[in-house]
């Protein structure tokens, strides 16, 4: 150690609790001594004399050491507190910020979708929560439905919902006798007492009794032709019925006739779902819509196979009776048509309505054959004409415009998966599509923050280990790079890139004809990858530069600066990637207006289990390009940090790692608060608009489409049936 070094060590030794400040003051004093000694040398002194003169000019070392300590001790105390706070609080605060985002918005990470939606149980009244979720002790949907019915025993909707759940368990395999016939009939009897004007219970009893007392088989000799909705003629067999228990079969027919006299038919499970949906507050998040769709999809439909079986049995029995009692046969087929009309009018879902259509078609075909076998050709012709009119109406509705390929591009991921191409669909896609986009953007932001938190935590752990195993002089320092520098780093590496992307994202998301994620997911994933790469590269790069500069000021050995010309391979690869991204963007925006659904949506539909035949290259390319960008960034960062593994850079490396952790944590907190809040507001704003034509699902698909005309027609037919029966 030289004389100057000894003097500086003596002067700054009392500042050692703050190694950074000690080094800073030492570097400043060393610069002074060098300047002073240089002047003495110029005056003709030798090197030794000049150094001694410079040291002498500084004054009494002990007195000066004490003065330096006095002047800096307040600062040291404050910096100690700040350093402790930065080390102990910033990383946990960053983790907390990300955790809050995960808990409130990070739904893809959570299998329990109920959590985080704005209608979690604690936000509902006790009765509302019970109606939505049933008894908390319930272990299954069945127990849940039973608990609701038990709590409000006279409510026909709640009992009907429970009955459908229970009968689904008891009904057994279609085509075989129900294994719990007595229990099922008792349950249906109770339902009829609670809901006496509803024909559902009578038809269900008739279905169970007839199924238990007879068997059906295809008639190999007799078939009928049916022109389907596409105009193609298909051949269907009539059914043959074998009655094993005539008494029970007659009981079934009696229940059927009692049902015909009832004013309406309603399977209550959809009513139950609608009642639950009506309880829910206004959507606040995209998650609320997903949860709502999930709840709707959980609706248990009534025994549609049983309805079809009942219709076939009635028609088959009518055909069996035509030889012995023609009038009864005619009456039975007419009654089967009337039942179908009643069911069609009361149907709340498309599948229920199409079951009614099928029963009606079978009954009309049977009616035509009954009349034909009785020699009443005119009536047979009328029955055929009625059947043709039904099929013509369906064909007419189906031929109306439905979602075309251009409209589907604007529906968004969720809508494109759950919305069938219904004719005459009246829908406003924008709010759901926008909410979905912002929700996914929040998820991407969360991924970025999670990556930064993981890096920050890893650096903190490495620093802690390094601090523990190194001796005092070599321990890593937590540098104060300065608030201005941190602010500049955050501004340039985070605020600016995210703001630019935010403006771009808003510009392409906000218009009414914006493209949904169902066709833009590949591009959006690539853009997210670009933003993450840019933010990570800038954040780590600028932070590295700031820490390096500070270390240089403190006299630490730092790696030499590397200019771009020395990194020509990195620059070349980055430029190629940037060109590929720009090229892909230009290509995508020119290609998407003419693209066919399978071309853009392939991976996403396949992911959802829907197969598409067309190639999926353009969409996949965005994902591949984004993935390449992320891998390139990761390799670049790793290689850059690997340069620091040289032993002489050990203290700089350790100091860099220790100082980067709080910088990254600060950045995470800033972004989580600002961007998290902004995106949450944008998502809520869009989600609140998901009402009316913007809300669509399983329960209102008839009302929202031209199939409402078919239901109206069922109403007309039912009125005609009632008038006929009255005659």
């Amino acid at each position: 150690m030289s004389g100057a070094d000894e003097l500086i060590h003596l002067l700054t030794d009392r500042l050692s609790p703050d190694p950074e400040l000690q080094r800073d003051v030492a570097a400043e004093l060393r610069a002074h001594l060098e300047d002073c000694a240089a002047e003495f040398r110029q005056a003709g002194q030798s090197d030794e004399q000049a150094a001694a003169s410079a040291a002498k000019a500084m004054g009494d070392p002990r007195e000066l050491s004490d003065q330096l300590w006095q002047a800096n001790r307040g600062r040291m105390r404050l910096r100690g507190v700040l350093r402790w706070a930065a080390g102990a609080a910033l990383l946990p605060a960053a983790v907390a910020a990300v955790a809050i985002l995960v808990l409130t918005h990070g739904w893809p990470l959570r299998p329990d979708l109920q959590f985080g939606s704005s209608w979690a149980p604690e936000r509902l009244t006790k009765d509302q929560a019970f109606l939505l979720y049933g008894d908390p002790q319930a272990r299954s949907r069945l127990e849940e439905a039973k608990s609701i019915s038990d709590r409000w025993p006279d409510n026909p909707v709640y009992y009907g919902n429970y009955a459908i759940h229970q009968l689904t368990v008891w009904e057994g395999i279609n085509g075989t006798p129900p294994p719990h016939l007595a229990e099922g009939l008792a349950m249906l009897d109770k339902g009829e007492r609670i809901d006496p004007k509803n024909a559902y219970y009578n038809y269900a009893k008739a279905s169970w009794l007839i199924r238990a007392s007879s068997t059906l088989a295809d008639d190999p000799k007799h078939t009928y032709e049916l022109r389907d909705a596409r105009g193609q003629v298909t051949t269907r067999p009539f059914s043959l019925i074998t009655i094993q228990d005539p008494a029970m079969f007659r009981r079934g027919l009696e229940e059927f006739r009692r049902g015909l006299a009832k004013p309406f038919f309603a399977s209550r499970s959809i009513d139950m779902t609608n009642e639950r949906l009506a309880l829910l507050p206004q959507h606040q998040k995209f998650l609320d819509v997903v949860r709502e769709a999930e709840m709707t999809a959980e609706t248990i439909l009534p025994d549609l196979q049983g309805w079809l079986g009942l219709g076939k049995s009635l028609s088959a029995y009518a055909l069996a009776r035509v030889g012995t009692d023609g009038q009864e046969a005619i009456g039975l087929t007419r009654s089967a048509v009337a039942m179908a009309d009643q069911m069609g009018k009361g149907s709340q879902t498309l599948i229920e309505m199409f079951v009614a259509v099928s029963i009606r078609a079978t009954a009309l075909a049977s009616e035509r054959r009954v009349y034909a076998e009785l020699g009443r050709q005119n009536m047979a012709k009328q029955a055929q004409q009625e059947l043709d009119r039904q099929q013509d109406l369906i064909r007419d509705i189906r031929s109306r415009p439905s979602l075309d390929r251009d409209q589907i591009k604007h529906t968004g991921m969720l809508w494109s998966l759950v919305t069938p191409a219904l004719p005459g669909l009246r829908a406003n896609f924008a709010p759901l599509r926008t909410a979905e986009t912002w929700a996914v953007t929040q998820f991407a932001l969360l991924e970025l923050l999670a990556v930064l938190v993981v890096i920050s935590a890893a650096l903190a752990v490495i620093s802690a280990v390094s601090w523990a195993i190194n001796r005092r002089q070599n321990r890593p320092m937590l540098l104060f790079v300065g608030w201005r520098r941190i602010a500049r780093i955050c501004l340039l590496s985070i605020v600016l890139p995210l703001a630019v992307y935010g403006v771009y994202a808003y510009a392409v998301t906000a218009p009414p004809d914006a493209y949904g994620l169902n066709c833009s997911a590949g591009r959006v994933v690539m853009e997210f990858a670009v933003v993450v790469s840019v933010v990570c590269t800038l954040l780590l790069g600028l932070s590295y530069t700031a820490v390096r500069k500070r270390c240089e000021e403190l006299g630490l050995e730092v790696p030499p600066p590397r200019h771009l010309r020395k990194r020509w391979i990195v620059v070349l690869l980055a430029s190629l990637l940037a060109l590929a991204v720009i090229g892909y963007e230009i290509y995508w925006w020119s290609w998407i207006p003419t693209a066919r659904p399978g071309e853009w949506a392939g991976p996403w539909y396949e992911w959802a289990g829907v197969s598409v035949p067309s190639p999926t290259f353009p969409s996949s390319f965005g994902v591949i390009l984004g993935g390449t960008m992320l891998v390139f960034t990761a390799i670049f960062v790793i290689v850059e940090f690997a340069r620091l593994l040289r032993k002489r850079l050990g203290l700089f490396r350790r100091t860099l790692f220790r100082s980067l952790s709080p910088i990254l944590s600060s950045a995470v907190i800033l972004v989580a608060i600002v961007c998290g809040y902004a995106l949450s507001r944008a998502e809520s704003s869009a989600a609140r608009q998901i009402v009316g034509d913007a809300a669509m699902g399983f329960t209102n698909e008839i009302e929202k489409s031209d199939y409402s005309l078919l239901r109206q027609q069922f109403g007309t037919w039912q009125a005609q049936d009632a008038a006929e029966m009255a005659r």
């Binding site: 570097a27 610069a31 002074h32 500084m58 004054g59 000066l64 307040g74 000021e553």
Partner: protein, 91 residues
């Protein structure tokens, strides 16, 4: 202005009449810096003077400038009062 430069300027302006040890400048600068009256920033020394070396340059902050104005006024009033007392307004 860096520390050694300050010493030179003070010595030049006072023609060396102020007897002081150069080292005492730094505790003073650090106190001023702690109080936010001056700001120290490291920068490269001019290549002609000290190539490849860094120096810590101090600049006065707005808060420091306000404090300087206040202290200057105090000093002016103090010297006026002392002059008045000693020389009866002859100076």
């Amino acid at each position: 202005m860096y520390g050694y430069e300050l010493v030179k300027v003070v010595n030049a302006r006072t023609n060396g009449r102020l007897e002081w040890k150069e080292g005492t400048l730094y505790p003073t600068l650090h106190q001023l810096e702690s109080r936010g009256l001056v700001r120290g920033q490291w920068a490269d020394a001019p290549a002609m003077e000290a190539p490849g070396r860094k120096r810590k340059y101090y600049s006065i902050t707005p808060k420091g400038r306000a404090e300087l104005t206040r202290r200057s006024e105090e000093w002016r009033q103090f010297t006026q009062a002392v002059n008045a007392c000693l020389f009866g307004g002859a100076l």
